[in-house]
């Protein structure tokens, strides 16, 4: 079993706000992230696949296929957008980096390239260089138990 991680980047804006709450409650809960026009981040995305090395290629999967999948499913969908306004999935869900991380996992989970036994292990999303979020699906991946 080998774990392969590839890093990608995209830039987007968002506003943390829930319609169900009052203006005061939103301001208290989300602070400056509630600013009405939104604000942006340069997100750094790490996608980790796990599986066996294919003896014919020496590789876990074809990286150009992984790049194409991530570009199609994630980068084209989110890069240079306002997540609240431009992305359907966030019309009714707050585009926190937690929710974005889970959404990216779901977008990629069934589409990652590779042969038998290759699976999406983890999505790690950095909002800034000081905070990041990780999601391994509901099964809580093996990697989190081994990670140091």
């Amino acid at each position: 079993m080998i774990y392969l991680t590839r890093r990608y980047r995209f830039s987007a804006s968002h506003r943390l706000h829930r319609d169900a709450l009052s203006e005061e409650e939103n301001a208290r809960l989300y602070g400056k992230c509630n600013s009405p026009y939104g604000h942006g981040h340069n997100y750094v995305l790490e996608v980790t696949l796990a599986g066996p090395v294919d003896p014919a290629t020496g590789m876990l999967c074809d990286l150009s296929q992984l790049d194409a999948t991530v570009d199609r499913e994630v980068i084209q969908r989110f890069d240079h957008t306002h997540l609240n306004l431009d992305v359907e999935n966030f019309r009714s869900r707050v585009p926190t980096t937690e929710n974005l991380c889970v959404e990216i996992f779901r977008l990629l989970e069934t589409k990652v390239p590779g042969g038998d036994g290759v699976r999406l292990e983890r999505v790690r999303l950095e909002e800034t260089s000081s905070n990041y979020f990780e999601y391994e699906g509901e099964h809580a991946g093996a990697l989190s138990r081994r990670r140091v």
């Binding site: 079993m1 080998i2 774990y3 392969l4 991680t5 590839r6 890093r7 990608y8 090395v53 014919a56 290629t57 020496g58 590789m59 876990l60 074809d62 990286l63 150009s64 990697l143 081994r146 140091v148």
Partner: protein
């Protein structure tokens, strides 16, 4: 249990080619990595050893020993080499980052006398790395 990670760097060239496939199939499968003259990377290796802290020293292992083992087993073997042609393990195995990480595990695991090899992390570029835990 505590985990100690030591980093090392080496530069090497490689190309991807499976001799049981035709030239066309190799080009299709490996793209520009199939160029027989090879191409290079600056690899960054992270070796993580798991162990208990020795109360006498406050350390899991002497990092100088780990550095010496890394130098002797990996850096001497791979640094500034054409991996396909100069490293015996890759005469019959494609030197992908996946296979290099596994080979480094196999070289280091038997040489560690203190602690237990936990993970090999090998960066081919800052945006691509593989992890191997020995199974």
């Amino acid at each position: 249990m505590i985990y100690v990670t030591r980093k090392a760097e080496f530069s090497a060239s490689h190309y991807y080619h499976n001799p049981s496939l035709s030239p066309e199939e190799n080009r299709r499968m490996f793209g520009k990595c199939n160029n027989p003259h090879g191409h290079g990377h600056n690899y960054t290796l992270e070796v993580t050893v798991a162990g208990e802290i020795d109360p006498a020293t406050g350390m899991v292992l002497d990092l100088k020993d780990l550095k010496r083992i890394l130098e002797a087993e990996v850096i001497q073997l791979m640094d500034h080499k054409f991996l396909n042609k100069e490293v015996p393990a890759f005469a019959s195995k494609i030197p992908t980052t996946e296979n290099i990480a596994i080979e480094i595990w196999n070289l280091l695991a038997p040489k560690l006398t203190v602690g237990r090899l936990h993970r090999i992390r090998l960066y081919e570029t800052p945006d691509l790395f593989v992890d191997y835990y020995g199974d």
